[in-house]
Amino acid sequence: MTTAHSLTIDTLTLGYGDRAVIENLDLLIPPGQVTAIVGANACGKSTLLRSMSRLLAPRTGHVLLDGHDVQRIPAKQLARTLGLLPQSPIAPEGITVSDLVGRGRHPHQGMFSRWSHADDIAVADALDATETAALSDRPVDELSGGQRQRVWIAMALAQQTDLLLLDEPTTFLDVSHQVEVLDLLTDLNRTRGTTIVMVLHDLNLAARYADHLIALANGGVHASGPPGDVLTEDTVRAVFGLDSRVIIDPTSGQPLMLPIGRHHMRHSSPA
């Protein structure tokens, strides 16, 4: 039911002050898939994601949504197609879950237009999809970290965009909640065809959950493609400067990276 939108990046250079973080980067986000962006700290993952949703204007180059420069698409119109969940959004004090999720309807509402039935349905739909309906009247600040993250995702869902960008949606969550959030995003992708692009810290979770993996290094794309092709010992060395072994994850069949450090190794020297 979703029409596939194309998101392409064309010779993009991004930076803060004098420092260029991303240089002459070209990229194509495969429509209808889950894409994960990985890379070392400060390699420009979040910066790239921010520029995709026009929070950051490029120095040169363009981010194109269906061939149109996102910087030129009217703000609300863009927000009906492309959603972003930033790393640390702020929940106003005391706000209830359904009220917060309702804020996701903003791009669908005019300046004075009344709240419509479609808005209620979209909010209910988002609460159901994230299994937060039972929390709907609770204040957000009373929830646990995992619940809160699901509520934020519900807000992004209520926005009903065909593309959803997420900046480290699993940070500060314990491992079970990380898996829960990534499963939820996979459900969305499978049932609604939502194109998902997320920045992830955990290489192994990224390899498991992404259809398409992008590894950033030195201001550009080091490798991109299916996780099986991208997550290799060479890539880990080039992107993170780390020796590792990559084996096949027996639970998923995807690559699994095992870091090699200086201690606790079975063999005296890495192969």
Binding site: L55, G102, Q109
Partner: protein, 357 residues
């Protein structure tokens, strides 16, 4: 303008339990806010009537009504028409301005301490008005313009000084408090240098006072309320989304910089107009928003409730100041007595919860 997207569930299907919960929550929030607004408006009308009827002489409602209609009633025409009515009107209008301007700043900067009377904008407008009247001998609209220009300049100055790769609320507040102290001392200096130094003027420009306004002082504030409040109300949805943080708000289609500019400029204008007429009535801008938030509950837009709380605060405080305490006190002294404990409470609470404001 609005592009409807088809709902994902056909509207003919019976509403799911979740849809009903969402609807109930939303209707409940809306109903509570509407009740609060109606009750506050009714209270303002009641207190307004009382202040018109009651004073050193008590007039009947009939007499007051005839004065308002323009008839000549011996005694009442002067007392009510010239003294009480302009004073009460200014109380309501200035209260609306302070309440609306205050809550706008507090919402925009996500901090109850970021009120224009704490961060120096009222002080700037007040110093400018004092300078215009006492030193330059100006009057009427010229004073308002002077106060507005300086109010905007102070806002710009605080914003620029606190800008360092994005505006951090705490830095802005601390800089604002410093600037407020400087401007207050400027006002005190202007008053001390005035040839026709009198206590009335000092009271007005230091704490705010509603003593003896003519219609010439009231009308500019009325115009400000009529012209500027619709601008702010038009931004109330954007303002609500901005509370989620700049990035989240932009992602939801709000042009954050533009919204911030419109909203802050409008709020500064409201504060400056009110200050030029009534002085920086202490703590009204600071108190109205949090009081409104307590009554309305979380989530709802506070603009209208806070404006009404502001008007009610000024009306009641002025009435108390005039009649309840034996001696006549300017309204700012009364609101100051109410506001100072709340300021202390906020600072104590924020210290307990981890130090940052």
């Amino acid at each position: 303008m609005k592009q409807e997207r088809p709902a994902r569930t056909a509207s003919t299907t019976p509403p799911t339990p979740t849809t009903q919960t969402v609807l109930r929550g939303r209707v409940g929030r809306f109903a509570r806010r509407r009740t609060v607004v109606l009750v506050l408006a009714a209270l303002i009308v009641i207190v307004l009537c009382v202040t018109l009827l009651v004073g050193q002489t008590i007039y009947s409602p009939g007499e007051v009504f005839r004065v308002i209609l323009g008839e000549n009633v011996p005694g009442a025409t002067f007392t009510v028409g010239r003294l009480r009515l302009p004073r009460a009107s200014l109380a309501v209008l200035a209260g609306l301005c302070f309440g609306l301007g205050g809550v706008t700043f507090q919402t925009m900067l996500r901090n109850p301490l970021a009120s224009p009377d704490i961060i120096g904008i009222s002080s700037g407008a007040s110093a400018a008005a004092a300078f215009a009247i006492v030193t330059l001998g100006l009057g009427g609209t010229q004073v308002s313009i002077f106060a507005i220009v300086v109010g905007l300049a102070v806002a710009l100055l605080i914003y620029t000084l606190s800008f360092k790769s994005g505006v951090a609320g705490t830095r802005l507040i601390l800089i604002g408090i410093g600037i407020a102290a400087m401007l207050d001392s400027v006002t005190a200096y202007i008053l001390s240098q005035a040839a026709d130094w009198d206590l009335q003027a000092a009271q007005r420009w230091l704490t705010g006072s509603l003593n003896g306004p003519g219609w010439a002082q009231v009308v500019p504030v009325l115009v400000a309320v009529v012209v500027l409040s619709p601008v702010l109300l038009g931004q109330s949805r954007n303002l609500a989304v901005t509370q989620l943080g700049d990035d989240a708000a932009s992602a939801l289609g709000v042009r954050v910089d533009r919204t911030r500019l419109i909203v802050i400029a409008t709020a500064v204008l409201l504060i400056a107009f009110a200050t030029a007429a009534a002085g920086p009535i202490a703590f009204v801008a600071f108190l109205s928003g949090p009081i409104a938030a307590r009554i309305v509950g979380p989530g709802a837009s506070l603009l209208v409730p806070a404006a009404l709380v502001g008007a009610l605060l000024v009306l009641v405080a002025d009435f108390i100041g005039q009649f309840a305490l034996g001696t006549r006190l300017p309204v700012g002294v009364v609101t100051g007595v109410l506001g100072a404990p709340y300021l202390i409470y906020l600072i104590v609470r924020s210290n307990r919860s981890g130090g940052s404001l």
